[in-house]
């Protein structure tokens, strides 16, 4: 369990050394996207370059350009888009609850930000801009400047490590014992 402080956009080498269970803090731009932004990107592509990007499953509360609360939303709803999002160059998906880990192999990491911690997350984020604003506050693609955003746990790494899978398997074993 190593602690890393990384800058975005992430390099291939950044992602290479992360292992499931490590702790990560990110500084630099991160972009939010949830249900509607994903559907829109599938239809007409991303409004910004996602090369090396950290994509955050989050529907924040923003007022007058200030981030008031911005914790992660359930990533499972966006699982159907994982493969194409990673193909667009995203190297880290941030969220909570996890998504199936297979598409991450050899490509990217999934970082778990503690769910329900919107007030703490907001302290580490500033608004730089917004895309797809017509989708509404929660569904817009917010462009945030993050300062030491975390703590996040590497829940899925690019080498096949997957904490959710291991925990689920162990719970199933307890059920059948």
């Amino acid at each position: 369990m190593t602690e890393y402080h990384l800058k975005t956009p992430l390099s291939g080498a950044d992602v290479e050394r992360l292992a499931a269970g490590d702790v990560v803090f990110l500084t630099g731009r991160i972009y939010t996207a949830r249900d509607k932004a994903h559907a829109r990107m599938r239809q007409s592509g991303s409004p910004i370059s996602l090369q090396g990007a950290a994509l955050y499953h989050c529907g924040p509360i923003i007022k007058e350009g200030r981030v008031l609360s911005a914790g992660p939303t359930t990533s499972g709803r966006m699982a159907r888009y994982t493969d194409e999002i990673l193909s667009s160059g995203v190297r880290a998906i941030i969220g909570k609850g996890g998504v199936p880990g297979e598409p991450f192999r050899g490509r990217a990491v999934y970082l778990a930000f503690p769910g329900g911690c919107g007030a703490a997350a907001a302290q580490q984020l500033k608004v730089c801009g917004v895309h797809l604003q017509e989708l509404g506050m929660a569904e817009s693609m917010w462009d945030f400047e993050a300062k030491d955003f975390g703590p996040m746990i590497v829940a899925v790494d690019k080498h096949g490590g997957d904490l959710y899978r291991d925990v689920r398997a162990s719970a199933q074993k307890t059920l059948t014992d």
Binding site: M1, G21, V23, C58, G59, P60, I61, K63, L68, S69, A70, G71, T73, T74, G76, K96, G97, G98, A112, P114, G115, G116, C117, G118, A119, A120, A121, A122, Q123, G136, M137, A138, P151, I153, A155, L163, Y164, D166, V167, R168, S170, A171, Q172, T174, L175
Partner: protein, 259 residues
């Protein structure tokens, strides 16, 4: 409005106590640091008076109304007005959308919202509990129409094992046992209002859930649930309805006695 403000920016002291106790006893380092960060998050929310979670939920309320009380106004409309003011002032995230068009009403009220559970009680008082309910945990909730030969606790454990990670554990589990399809669901919601439980069955189920090892946010640990409450009703001799209403660690609720 005042009840919502309190509910959205702080947690009841017994909830905080349970998280603190769990943080102290956790043996997994990841789990312990998650629980400590959750407590830190609540302190920040209280200090800044901002919503502790960006999912400020759907507006759910329980109103306990004295039988001797006569209201000369529309209770539903009065609560809705409070929700609209709270949405603007706290502020809350506008979450309420039409189920088909997905169009957002913009103020968390409209068709069927707020949802008010009304109980008649003795006296002439009016007590209102705000219980904003986020989607992460609500989405994982389930009603099962079991065969009376089935074990309802096995069903609950299998459901929790499969779904808990997405519901922001450590959880509070509201269980509705018996009744009908819809009554079971309402009992499960009531169980969340009446949390925590302390009967032998409730404590046994809590211990079994925690043995699953799902842990905070599904990343493993000793703390999968912080409370279980079971509400029951008679059911048909041929039925066994079981409802599980998941509640995330942020068991937000605040009560105002209205004079």
């Amino acid at each position: 409005m005042r009840a919502l403000q309190k509910a959205e920016t702080s947690l009841p002291s017994w909830v905080l106590q349970r998280i603190e106790d769990a943080a102290r006893q956790e043996t997994s380092q990841i789990a312990k640091s998650h629980l400590e960060f959750m407590l830190e998050n609540v302190r920040i929310a209280e200090r800044t008076r901002l919503p502790l979670c960006q999912d400020t939920g759907l507006p759910i309320f329980r109103v306990q109304m004295g039988r001797d009380l006569r209201l000369d106004f529309d209770l539903h409309e009065a609560v809705a007005e409070g929700v609209r003011v709270a949405t603007e002032q706290i502020p809350l995230r506008p979450n309420a959308v039409d189920p088909l068009t997905r169009k957002n009403s913009g103020n968390n009220t409209g068709l069927g919202m707020p949802d008010i559970i009304l109980d008649m009680v003795d006296g002439a008082g009016l007590t209102l509990t705000a219980f904003p309910k986020g989607a992460g945990s609500e989405n994982m909730s389930l009603v099962g129409m079991l065969n009376p030969a089935d074990d309802p606790f096995d069903f609950i454990l299998r459901t929790v094992a499969e779904r808990a990670a997405n519901a922001c554990p450590p959880l509070f589990l509201g269980i509705g046992l018996g009744g009908t399809f819809d009554l079971a669901a309402r009992l499960a919601k009531r169980a969340l209002f009446n949390m925590p439980g302390s009967s032998p069955e409730e404590l046994k189920l809590l211990a079994r859930v925690n043995r699953l090892g799902i842990g905070p946010m599904g990343l493993g640990g000793d703390t999968t649930a912080l409370g279980v409450r079971i509400e029951r009703a008679l059911c048909h001799t041929a039925s066994l309805p079981v409802a599980i209403n998941f509640q995330c660690w942020a068991h937000r609720s605040a009560t105002e006695v209205i004079r």
